[in-house]
Amino acid sequence: MSSHEPPSVTAAPQKPDVRDPSLATVLVVDDEESFHRTIAKYLSKYRRISAYTGWQAMEALNKHHIDVVLLDLNLPDTTGFQVLDQIRRERDDVEVIVCTAHSEIRNAVEAVKKGAFDFLVKSFENYQNMAEHLRRALEHRRNKRELLESRTQKHWMREAFQLMEESQSETMQMVIRLARRVADTPLTVLIEGESGVGKEVLARYIHARSDRADGPFVTVNVAAVPPGLLGSYWFGHVKGAFTGAERTQIGKFELADGGTIFLDEIGELDADAQVKLLRVLQEREVERLGAQEATPVNVRVLAATNRRLSEEVKIGRFREDLYFRLNVLHLTLPPVRDRVEDLPSLVRLLLAKHAGMMNREAPVLGDDALQVLQRYDWPGNVRELENLMMRMCAFSPGGEIRQDDIPIEYWLPTLNQAADELVQREDTPRLLALAVQQFERYFIRLMIARCHGNRRLAARALGISYTTLKQRLREERPGADVGDGDDVTPPRSGPLKADLRAGRGD
């Protein structure tokens, strides 16, 4: 086989999950075809990609999602150690098992020093135990990833706490002052706010500032649990309590013992579940399904809803006595549109977070783009802002996000305002033509991005000639080189507001 043939793929790797071996992908790097044939028999449970040279191995790592590399030390174009060095430099999410015919101790020491997870000598016995070696490598990788994710999540949560504490919004400051004071009490707190405002973040903040901070924080999304399973989910069950209850399982309230339980979307509770919750709040004890006795629980309850619970009580959908028990302390988080003064710091935090997750440099939001975002009403609140910032990180790594980069749907309030201003003027320009032109620019950019920067393909998809497409791009950015090259360009919405102000109609 030629050393520069592309790596052969035995199966397309899709969403690997190391818990299920059949979804894990192993890259086998060895120049001997016989080894590939032999090892294939022992790796039948895994997705397998074969590479015969160091170059092919790195190509495969860049193209596919690889979980474990089975690496030979003797390769035709480089050494296994060099490949190992490169993998360790570029990827910390891949485990490497060195598998070689050379059993010298110094090779094993060198491989482990360079970051290999394991060192195996090519032998029938090791081939037979290959599944076990891979299982251990995958387990190690999963533990490493979980630790990293947990650290990362904690880091971003701390940043979010700091951002809340430094909020420029008076309403937010008031909420945070109260949250800090209630943290050290055992009182129940009801957090209200629109969807996506950060109710869980506030709940975590209260938990983190409380004397229960070292205890567990258990989140229960009430709406996500089928009503029939709620009893078992909240309170657990004993072995044999019902068909299929093969072992005793503790419920969420017991899991949260010594800590905090956060009941999200509490307004979705049905009548039966409301009675069950009321009893826990009153008695501070839970009864596992099938158990003879109740178990006392020391749990602080925080609840959240995006509904007005007082209204739900009035129409009889929510029990009044339960409402009173949740309504001891009532914190209402303001929506993003009422705290636009916090947008710059929110944007900075979210860009840094997602750029970090994508291993990219965080882009910076330009002042003109910020103005567009500040005029938008953010119905999805911080969650919607986070999704947008994630897109911005993908499209504008390391650069400046300009108003042109903001998708057109976020421009509507800005367009409304510009239209209001224009109606007052006598020399009203062709507003519709401007809006059409604006959409056209956005759509062309969108199609180019969808075609991975291939402008010819984008022109074909749009049903216009390549020359017309280039002409449109030149009109959008006079003087810019729109050349023949294919590049990945983010969709832009175009500086419509500037055009409107200048009264340019075409």
């Binding site: 008031m174 909420v175 109260l178 004071r181 209630v182 009490t185 055992p186 009182l187 129940t188 709040l281 009153q282 008695e283 501070r284 006392p296 020391n298 006595d321 009173f324 028990r325 309504n327 001891v328 302390l329 009532h330 914190l331 209402t332």
Partner: protein, 81 residues
């Protein structure tokens, strides 16, 4: 059918205070409910047209909690205005 004697029927107010800031005044009352060993305390908070009930966990001194709960209840009502 006999008399409905439940824990709720032996409710007794053991403390009460009024707290608040400016026009926002709240009344906090502490009740004892039930009989040993199931006896427990409940704090009732009222003010500004709102009511809150807190079932005091075992091991927490309800008398110590009462003024704190009243003050925080008043402040949370003020924050929502």
């Amino acid at each position: 059918m006999g008399a409905q004697v439940t824990a709720e029927n032996v409710l007794e107010k053991v403390a009460s205070l009024t707290a608040g800031r400016g026009a926002m005044q709240v009344t906090a009352s502490c009740f004892v409910l039930g009989v040993a060993p199931k006896q427990r305390y409940e704090i009732l908070l009222e003010g500004g047209g709102e009511r809150g009930v807190f079932d005091v966990p075992r091991g927490v001194d309800p008398h110590e909690l009462l003024p704190i709960a009243a003050e925080l209840f008043a402040d949370s009502l003020l924050a929502r205005r």
